[in-house]
């Protein structure tokens, strides 16, 4: 069927008129050694911690521009009030959530129950329950996740699907609520990728199977360039932005 990769590369080398081997001038970013990478990631972390108040303001502003309903909360209590009122206004009966650390400090299950709904963790116990979980997800009114990172430059929430965090919780239900802690905040895309690269090297070349970078609701402009929200993903996205942990 296909051709061996060596043959494919040989065609390319012939087209370029070059010999095999790395570029004569090493590519700066890739030449970076582990200590340098670690130092850069550390600097990113430090800066984000130092600039947290500014990052919170910038995040709130940018995220709102990109279509998030942003709710800044002083602490867990305010956040839970928001979850309850949101669940109530949606008339939510079924709310799916991931299993993440953030729910230990912001226990949303009770908040949803306060609005008369049921909040359940969308995790698979075994292969047999997969179809069941999916069907339940498809019928749920809202999905709640934490954020592994939040990027102020773009107003985005980043989630890294893994054990406890299904890829589908933030995309299948018609409403997504993300809970962002100050420690999740980063300034720029460059910051994010510096940290992911370190993670990649640290884990011996693995950094997980998926990264979801989410900015506002699902939308399309494929008919007459008219923007419609909520095509295949959520039509409504909410961000609870915690001012302190």
């Amino acid at each position: 069927m296909g051709i061996p990769s060596a043959q494919f590369r040989e065609t390319i080398r012939a087209a370029l008129g070059r010999q095999s081997g790395p570029p004569a001038e090493p590519y700066d970013v890739l030449a970076e050694e582990f200590p340098a990478l670690e130092a850069r990631a550390e600097a990113v972390r430090e800066r984000a911690a130092r600039e947290t108040p500014e990052l919170l303001d910038r995040m709130a502003e940018t995220a709102a521009l990109r279509g998030w309903n942003v709710q800044r909360c002083d602490g867990a209590e305010e956040a839970l009030d928001y979850v309850t009122s949101l669940a109530r206004s949606l008339g939510a009966t079924s709310v799916a959530r991931s299993e993440q650390e953030v729910f230990e400090t912001v226990p949303v299950d009770a908040a949803v129950a306060g609005a008369g709904g049921l909040c359940w963790p969308a995790v698979y116990d075994g292969p047999s329950s997969r179809t069941e979980v999916r069907q339940r997800l498809a019928e749920s009114d809202m999905g709640i996740t934490g954020a592994d990172y939040a990027i102020a430059e773009t107003g985005s929430v980043v989630v890294l699907p893994r054990r406890g965090l299904s890829r589908l919780v933030s995309v299948v239900p018609p409403v997504h609520l993300a809970i962002v802690r100050p420690s999740d905040l980063l300034g720029t895309l460059d910051d994010l990728f510096a940290l992911r690269r370190l993670e990649h090297v640290r884990n011996g070349g693995d950094m997980g199977s998926y990264l979801n970078f989410i900015t506002g609701p699902s939308r399309t402009a494929d008919i007459e360039q008219t923007i419609v929200v909520g095509v295949h993903g959520p039509r409504e996205v909410h961000m609870v932005l915690l001012d302190k942990e």
Binding site: M1, L16, G67, T154, Y210, G216, R219, A221, I223, H232
Partner: protein, 486 residues
């Protein structure tokens, strides 16, 4: 491979300019996308925009210049992450690879997120012939799949359709009540495709970028269909032209800034998904298998020609289409293959052969708007001129098709234009010959041989009674350049 009808370019353009619905659709798109693109550039400031463009250009130059090296790195890292990489020299091989993966996995239903490479390959037909149901899930792609058409724009495949046409199509094909409400149409697509996402055995996606260092496939979408296609089915197949690779994750940042702004003026798209291998054993969900198919299909020909190599830097944003006076009049289908507009007029001859597409490089006024709009500074007009030259004169094994008459005409034109005496004589003769046929100084439609080929689509101004040189000598030379004298 998708059917190539680029030979019909001239007749297709004539039909296109008479299509009033198409013109309506194109007018809306041209002002919409390009207007927001300009706003987005203004917002970050043109200086910063230029820095980004230069940075992106440098990354592409470096990567394409060492493509074999980075593809090897990519393959190594995709494999390390548990994925499989396949290499296809042409469309036939690529289609056979995907068909085999489908057979091996007993696939019956496929959901697809937008992939221009799959359009290039004509993949859907190959899978359908195997008895597999294939569903396009990007709304624009879904529309054109229902209509059995091809995309007419790189990022907005159904741009040529008006809401009425889509409403009628949905009513006819899906049996839903006729509705011109765009929200309602999007809702219908959501409902119909939602079940397909959950049923599908295999998801197929394109790739906006491939990160060599981590072995990741990156897709940028707005609807969420890309997320579902790469998350729900058992098998994920990513398709990519071989030029999509970038060295490092760090390089991705600048492209995420440039691409959405150039494409639709969005500051960032709703979603960016990065796929690195199949699901890990601990993951809640995700495909059991991940395959990446890297496609050449003529790209190595573009790579081998130093004059055309930079066409492989293209990130398929479509900005050059939105600013092109020719694309804006004729739309994407007239170009006769998958890649339309200024960049398509280079890529198409490169991939299908200039012999089949020699009219495309002429589909440009060489105004340079495409070069200015390009986020990776591709010099499109230069390459179009180069291809015109090759089309006439030939290159390597390619025989030019410039006729003796054309060549004689070109030499005559050059001689006249480089001699003031001959130019003046020509002006006088032209006036003497044509003035009796003119109306208010221009020659409109006429049946005169040769001349009629020009006047069919444009007015021919009659040479004036006096040349500029004469006016200058007699009246202007002594009176300063800002003289108001007639």
């Amino acid at each position: 491979m998708a059917e190539v009808v680029t030979r019909d370019f001239v007749s297709a353009t004539q039909a296109a300019v008479k299509d009033t619905q198409l013109r309506q659709a194109l007018r809306r798109a041209g002002t919409g996308f390009d207007g927001t693109r300009r706003e987005a550039i203004h917002e970050v400031t043109p200086e910063v925009w230029e820095e980004w463009r230069e940075q992106a250009r440098r990354i592409k130059e470096h990567t394409i210049g060492h493509l074999d090296y980075y593809l090897e790195m990519l393959e190594r890292n995709v494999t390390a992450a548990g994925g499989r990489v396949h290499f296809a020299a042409d469309a036939g091989q690529a289609n056979a690879i995907v068909a085999q993966i489908a057979r091996d996995n007993g696939v019956r239903t496929v959901t697809k997120s937008k992939s221009m490479v799959s359009e290039e390959l004509g993949l859907n037909h190959v899978l359908e012939a195997q008895g597999i149901d294939v569903f396009e899930t990007d709304l624009g792609e879904y529309i054109i799949q229902l209509a059995n058409e091809t995309p007419s724009h790189l990022v907005a495949p159904a741009l040529h359709k008006t809401r009425r046409q889509v409403a009628q199509l949905f009513a006819d094909q899906l049996g839903v009540p006729y509705s011109e409400d765009i929200e309602e149409m999007a809702r219908i697509a959501r409902v119909v495709l939602r079940q397909k996402f959950l049923d599908a055995d295999m998801g197929i996606s394109g790739a906006n970028f491939l990160v060599a260092e981590t072995g990741s496939l990156v897709i940028i979408t707005n609807e969420g269909n890309g997320r579902l296609c790469t998350s729900a089915p058992r098998v994920h197949v990513g398709l990519a032209g071989m030029e999509k690779v970038i060295p490092s994750l760090q390089d991705l940042a600048v492209f995420l800034r440039l691409l959405p702004r150039s494409a639709t003026g969005q500051r960032i798209t709703s979603y960016m998904s990065m796929v690195t291998g199949p699901r890990r054993p601990d993951d809640e969900d995700g495909p059991e298998e991940f395959h990446l198919v890297i496609v050449d299909n003529g790209r190595s020909r573009l790579l081998a020609d130093p004059a055309l190599r930079e066409s492989l830097y293209c990130i398929r944003c479509g900005a050059c289409l939105n600013v092109c006076p020719v694309y804006q009049r004729v739309g994407g289908h007239a170009y006769g293959w998958v890649y339309p507009g200024p960049i398509g007029s280079i890529v198409t001859p490169g991939l299908v052969g200039l012999g089949q597409a020699k009219d495309l490089p002429n589909a440009s006024t060489l105004c340079g708007a495409c070069r200015d709009a390009c986020p990776v500074q591709i010099n499109i007009p230069r390459m179009l001129l180069h291809l015109r030259h090759v089309a006439a004169e030939g290159q390597g094994s390619y025989q030019g098709t410039g006729s003796d008459t054309e060549s004689l005409f070109a030499r005559g034109f050059a001689a006249v234009m480089s001699s003031p005496r001959l130019l003046n004589l020509g002006r006088k003769m032209g006036r003497w010959l044509l003035a009796p046929l003119a109306n208010r100084g221009v020659l409109g439609q006429t049946r005169l041989p040769v001349v009629s080929r020009w006047t069919r689509a444009r007015d021919l101004p009659i040479p004036p009674p006096r040349s500029f040189a004469e006016i200058w000598r007699d009246e202007l030379s002594n009176s300063g350049s800002d003289s108001k004298r007639a």
